[in-house]
């Protein structure tokens, strides 16, 4: 059986994975469980056993684990959590032989790439008690925002379909959960000096909203709860929906992102193309477009990097196997 080209974007906030047939996404959370988990309707909670320990991942870690862990430091890729999230993504994609393109935050890219390249090999683990023997090959590791460029340039066969980025300067603003990453390509060459990352992600916006909510409702909120408030524009307390004003928080956050962009690039209007991507793109697009009129975004920006990694994986695999 051949290798399946996949894209893996194990982010600090969410893990996104794409195969030719599936797209999966879950919070980058891993929880340790002990014993059976009681469910009223007899449903079982999916779990993964790796290296002698049993874990639940994503939303299940939030709901069912006493201790759920999310990691946002530069040792992330060396942690068991990163490995468990990667294996869980393979299990969710239902792929047992994968050739993957991984993404890394721009700020830690050079330092962490050699470690991710060593990630391949045979991985043995259990999903809900059933043994899984997966083969994972790391084809390439790229800075996360590059995925969006591949997503726009390549079709599902990994072939270029658009010539519009040739001879042009292209900037990508990738607003993620804990970081904002920028890259610039000039005539499709990566410009290192203008490609930077900083710890300014959606979590900063959520923190400021959390402070306001906690003051107003005299109770504490987890960051993941505030996420739901932002999605709905309202908070549910005592069985009733209370609208929450987000505009001011969003404007402050957009200004922060814009300052970072200007520090790294100067005036972004000097770039021929500027693309906004990542989990924060839909929230910020309108506000950033006021300052960067030629700003554009992509469809389902939260998945664009992982989609692009997958298309690039197809290209690399086809080149290697000459088909």
């Amino acid at each position: 059986m051949g290798m399946v080209p996949i894209g893996l974007d194990v982010g600090y906030g969410y893990t996104k994975a794409v195969s030719p047939e599936r797209i999966v996404s879950f919070p980058s959370l891993v929880g340790v469980v002990g014993g059976d988990l009681f469910q009223l309707d007899g449903r079982s909670v999916s779990r993964i056993r790796f290296d002698g320990r049993e874990y639940v991942c994503g939303e299940a870690a939030l709901k069912h684990s006493i201790l759920s862990v999310e990691v946002r430091n530069r040792d992330f890729v060396n942690s068991d959590i990163y490995r468990v999230l990667t294996l869980w993504a393979l299990a969710e994609l239902k792929v047992e032989r994968a050739s993957a393109v991984f993404g890394l935050p721009v700020g830690h890219y050079a330092q962490l790439k050699p470690q991710v390249l060593k990630y391949g090999g045979v991985c043995e683990f259990e999903v809900n008690g059933a043994p899984v023997r997966a083969v994972l090959e790391v084809l390439e590791v790229v800075p996360q925002p590059a995925g969006t460029v591949f997503d726009l340039l390549l079709n599902r066969l990994g072939e270029p379909t658009s010539e519009e980025f040739l001879d042009k300067s292209v900037g990508v603003i990738d607003v993620g959960y804990f970081t904002t990453d920028l890259i610039v390509l000039e005539d499709l060459e990566f410009v290192t000096s203008k490609s930077q990352g900083c710890d300014l992600g959606i979590s900063v916006l959520l923190e400021s909203i959390r402070c306001e909510l906690e003051g107003a409702f005299k109770t504490s909120f987890a960051l993941r709860e505030v996420e739901r408030v932002v999605r709905k524009g309202a908070v549910r307390i005592e069985g009733a929906e209370h609208p929450v004003e987000l505009e001011g928080h969003l404007r402050d956050f957009a200004q922060g992102v814009l300052s970072f962009v200007r520090n790294a690039w100067g005036d972004p209007r000097k770039l021929d193309v500027v693309i906004l991507t990542g989990g924060g793109a839909e929230l910020l697009y309108g506000l950033l477009k006021e300052e960067i009129p030629h700003l554009r975004t992509v469809s389902s920006p939260v998945f664009s990097n992982a989609r692009g990694f997958q298309k690039y994986a197809v290209r690399l695999l086809r080149r290697r196997e000459r088909w």
């Binding site: 059986m1 051949g2 399946v4 030719p20 047939e21 792929v95 032989r97 890219y109 790229v142 800075p143 590059a146 340039l153 390549l154 079709n155 599902r156 066969l157 072939e159 270029p160 379909t161 010539e163 040739l166 005539d187 499709l188 060459e189 990566f190 197809v314 290209r315 080149r319």
Partner: protein
């Protein structure tokens, strides 16, 4: 193990459309997806080949080939 798949085509119908419908019925699988994309691309003319066939004039086609090759070279030599 070699698996053989066969398809009967009635020339009175639009063959391309029949093939596409047939492709849609192939159950999902790992490699079969890639084969499907290939056949789909050939029939629908998705990607650069598709836009090429709609253009007239040899000069324009050659120019497109050049641009496409340059783009491919750039992509394949991309370093981060």
């Amino acid at each position: 193990m070699v698996k053989v798949i066969s398809l009967k085509l009635n020339p009175e119908y639009e063959w391309d459309r029949v093939i596409l419908k047939w492709l849609e019925r192939i159950p999902p699988g790992e490699r079969s997806a890639m084969i499907k994309y290939f056949l789909w691309r050939t029939i629908t003319g998705e990607s650069l080949e598709g836009s090429r066939s709609s253009s007239s004039g040899l000069g324009l086609e050659e120019k497109r080939d050049e641009v496409s090759e340059r783009l491919s070279r750039k992509l394949d030599s991309l370093k981060f």
